[in-house]
């Protein structure tokens, strides 16, 4: 860096793309940079969280960042009183979200320690018991969401309600259901962070210890020692593999020539043994197909259970592989043996005193880390899958009542605006006049669509304002992989063209042709043997990892989804390159060195 300290642009100086005027109204007033607070907001350093929220928010979807980051914060600041870390301040700017971790005044840190010890200590000591209870709570939330239905208002109040003297109407229930659904989503995000921050804290402790006793130890080694082998997050993919094998055993492979899932299922239903397979398919669906190829944060995320063509595509690929005699299972035994070998060797190099501490910290990390890996399935996939499905049910019902034209239109309203729509619907039903919404809402939806589309034409800024001298906030480092070096490299922008540096997330050296994937919907373009290059991967992309030979991402650290999955699948990965998905183009020949964390363009594209 040069002597004059560089800084990022201020959000107040960063204008919105043309056509997006008035975008601030789409989001809650407290989540946008307000003119009145310019001075105070410009004092804070914000970085873009495109790892979790890579796309511009539709107004309704902004709820996910609001609930998630608020709940993350409360566990730091109010539940466990993490000594050096308060919450994470967050804002939406030009449609993208930016984070600013709030550190604790150094003078207050010491005083928070006893409280943290008591509170966090209780969770660590009773981890498994509390976690069992967590599973019950989350399952109950999911069941409660499943039980909610949104039906059109009937012509008359049910006669039984009259006879029972209920004294209420169905609008009352409709509005309650909506509020309950939002509240259950909010509850989901509370539980999401109940264990996560502590899980990361224990991991961080072990990580820091390893960095001290084995100076220079590759991050990968630490990850490998802690990482689980049988992770729930891989279950959906494993279920598909089981189904593929069953199809081979039961002689049903011919049906997998069909392009369409319904045709294939029909074919199977007619086949001898088909019943047995269909039973297994149904069984796997619940709950494992509550799985998205997105990340659960967007209403547009597609879930397998509603889009059977997605798992079918992977399944078809597995059946074909099996027919060619290829191996489809993850090498779990080899992974386990390797994990044991690595752990034993590092431990053996320590003296007795240090080894005991190493084992203690590793033990705790291994107890808590499965949560870090598994919670994703239960929250982002299963619970959020049900949540989005229920909101679509509501949107469809209101669409049928003429409020808008498309199922996806509802998401152009903020969550409290939907409540107004429901009151409009209920009011007109009671009064006996047409609702006002159908006459006015579509224009507003169209106006907002244009704004969102305009916002999406510009990529987010990496960060805003003045960067800190050193990044010390533990969760920023752990969750977002934001380090002092990373921030410097964003500012530096001195990449030698064709060469990119990122994190050495999963070892191995591979050369091949790149395929840029900008969105989960483009995943089917991936060809066997290609290198996946993308801004960020979601864990649910796991099945495509059987097709590709390496992964390169713009965003993410050692514990990012891409890194975990690649290690699991034994593929090279370089994460957090910053700009690979824009520097590299589909069809370019590239070299990925997952051991060094480098990516190199070998052959430029020849323009036809």
């Amino acid at each position: 860096m040069t002597d004059k300290k560089k800084k990022f642009v201020s959000p107040y100086a960063h204008s919105a793309p043309k056509g997006s005027e008035g975008w601030k109204e789409l989001y809650p007033y407290f989540l946008v940079f307000q003119e009145q607070l310019k001075e105070q907001e410009e004092e804070k350093f914000f970085f873009c969280d495109s790892q979790h929220w890579p796309n511009v928010f539709k107004p309704f979807d902004a709820m996910t960042v609001e609930f998630a980051v608020k709940c993350l914060s409360q566990y730091n600041s109010r539940h466990y009183v993490i000594p050096p870390a308060n919450g994470v301040d967050f804002k939406i700017h030009n449609g993208y979200c930016y984070m600013s971790p709030v550190a604790v005044d150094p003078e207050l840190i010491e005083g928070r320690v006893p409280e943290f010890m008591e509170r966090a200590g209780y969770y660590f000591q009773n981890w498994n018991e509390l976690l069992d209870n967590w599973h019950k709570k989350v399952k109950r939330v999911i069941d409660d969401m499943e039980a909610i239905h949104f039906e059109p208002l009937p012509d008359r109040v049910d006669l039984q309600w009259i006879k029972d003297g209920v004294g209420l109407d169905p609008t009352f229930q409709l509005i309650n259901n909506y509020n309950k659904l939002i509240s259950l989503c909010y509850e989901t995000w509370q539980y999401h962070f109940e264990f996560l921050n502590l899980g990361y804290a224990a991991y961080l402790d072990f990580f820091g210890f390893c960095k001290e006793v084995f100076p220079g130890i590759p991050d990968l080694s630490v990850a490998k020692m802690v990482q689980g082998i049988d992770v729930d997050l891989f279950r959906p993919d494993d279920e598909l593999k089981k189904l593929a094998k069953l199809a081979v055993t039961l002689n049903l492979t011919d049906c997998f020539d069909k392009k369409d899932v319904q045709e294939a299922l029909h074919c199977i239903s007619l086949a001898e043994n088909g019943g047995e397979w269909l039973q297994a398919w149904e069984k796997a669906k619940h709950p494992w197909f509550n799985y998205t190829s997105g990340n659960g944060f967007y209403s547009s995320d597609k879930y397998w259970i509603e889009h059977l063509d997605i798992p079918y595509g992977y399944l078809k690929n597995y059946v074909e592989k099996l027919q060619r005699g290829e191996e489809i299972d993850r090498p779990t035994e080899a992974l386990e043996a390797e994990r044991d070998r690595i752990t034993t060797e590092y431990a053996a190099s320590l003296d007795e005193e240090a080894r005991a501490i190493f084992e203690g910290k590793l033990g705790l990390a291994r107890v808590v880390f499965p949560y870090v890996e598994n919670h994703n399935f239960y929250i982002e996939h299963w619970a959020m899958g049900v949540f989005w499905r229920k909101t679509r049910e509501l949107s469809r019902m209101l669409k049928e009542q003429g409020f808008w034209h498309q199922e996806s239109d509802m998401y152009y309203f903020r969550r409290e605006e939907i409540l107004q729509v429901l009151f409009d619907y209920g009011n007109s039903w009671a009064v006996g006049v047409p609702s006002v919404g159908p006459a006015v809402l579509q224009d507003e939806i169209n106006r907002r669509k244009k704004i969102v589309d305009a916002l999406a034409t510009a990529p987010p800024q990496p960060a805003f304002n003045n960067p800190p001298k050193v990044v010390t906030e533990p969760f920023t480092i752990m969750l977002w992989g934001i380090t002092t070096e990373a921030v410097e490299s964003w500012l530096g922008g001195d990449e030698k063209s064709g060469h990119m540096k990122g994190m050495a997330a999963s070892p191995g050296l591979v050369e091949g042709y790149a395929r840029i994937i900008n969105d989960a919907s483009e995943l089917d373009q991936l060809q066997q043997g290609e290198i996946l290059v993308t801004r960020v991967t979601a864990p649910s992309w796991a099945p495509v990892f059987n097709k590709i030979v390496a992964t390169v991402t713009d965003i993410g650290g050692m514990m990012s989804h891409a890194a975990i999955v690649c290690r699991e699948y034994g593929l090279p990965a370089v994460t957090g390159t910053g700009s690979a998905s824009t520097q590299i183009k589909t069809g370019m020949k590239i070299r990925v060195d997952g051991g060094k964390g480098t990516v190199e363009i070998l052959e430029e594209l020849v323009e036809a």
Binding site: P218, E345, D593, G595
Partner: protein
Amino acid sequence: MKPTYSLFFKEAKAEQLESLGGKGKSLASMSQANLPVPQGFCVTTDAFVAFIQDLMTAKGLFSALAKLDTKNMPALDKLSAEIRSQILNKSIAADIQQDILGSYRRLCAMYDKTGDLPVAVRSSATAEDLPDASFAGQQDTYLWVVGEEEVLSHIKMCWASLYTSRAIAYRKDHNIPEEEVQMSVVVQKMVNARVAGVTMTLNPTNGDRTKVAIEASYGLGESVVSGTVTPDNYLMDKVIFELVESSIHEKKTALLPDVENRCVVEVEVDAEKALEACLTREELIFISKIAKKIEKHYGCPQDIEWALDADAEGEEAFTLLQSRPETVWSNKKSETKKQYMSGMQGLVGSLINPLSAKK
């Protein structure tokens, strides 16, 4: 039983080890532990005994030695010269010669050569016969010996080295009977080093035993050991074999063998090559893996001299030249961390002072 006149390092059986002399025995044991020492064989003590007994008895030299007064320097020197010249001039018996040349041809064939593989020929004495190790070792090493005739003559030169005035006097003074003197000769593939260096199986800066430190430069290892070039430095993780740190220096010169003149010459390294890393990632990985194996073999951290042989490919190119116990850190605690905190206290410490602030 017919005596065995030559034995490959890899093939010597336990009961035959004594016939290889000290150096030969150690090479055989390393080779049999799959440590990559240069390939080669020993001309056994049986060959020496058969040759020398024959010569000495025929010429009455044993009795001449018995009568010799070691205080009479001119007489000692005269007899010493006489014996050595007799050794050098006498042909080795046909059966012994065929055995030795058979082994040399086999060694040549291992490197796709026919009778012209450069070898090192060095004496391998049984310890008690010679005054000191340096006397035994250093002088009687002949490098870049090529061809059958040369090999045979250099073996005889090694044998003859047992009869220097000093050696004869030493045995007399220590009452070692001449009839029992034995010697083996090691014939080893000459390492054609394209890169060579030194490797420690720990991090020399802090004693961390989960690292392998590698220093390397082009050509023979002398330039690394003597410090005539600043070698490349690499630090590898010893558990998962990832490169942790490296610093690449300009390596302007290299020491390369001049086979014709049997000496080493200093040459300029091509300017571009001088600035490049002299080891690839693959090479760093296998060097680390082999170093780890050597450490395991000896049971303590090692300081290893090695070379990559231009005549072999991949891992096969790695040649172990010497391995010694590391002495600095082996007897003291590593300095990677002085204080440990466990449990919640440790966790709080990690949160308050996370890794990026430490670095």
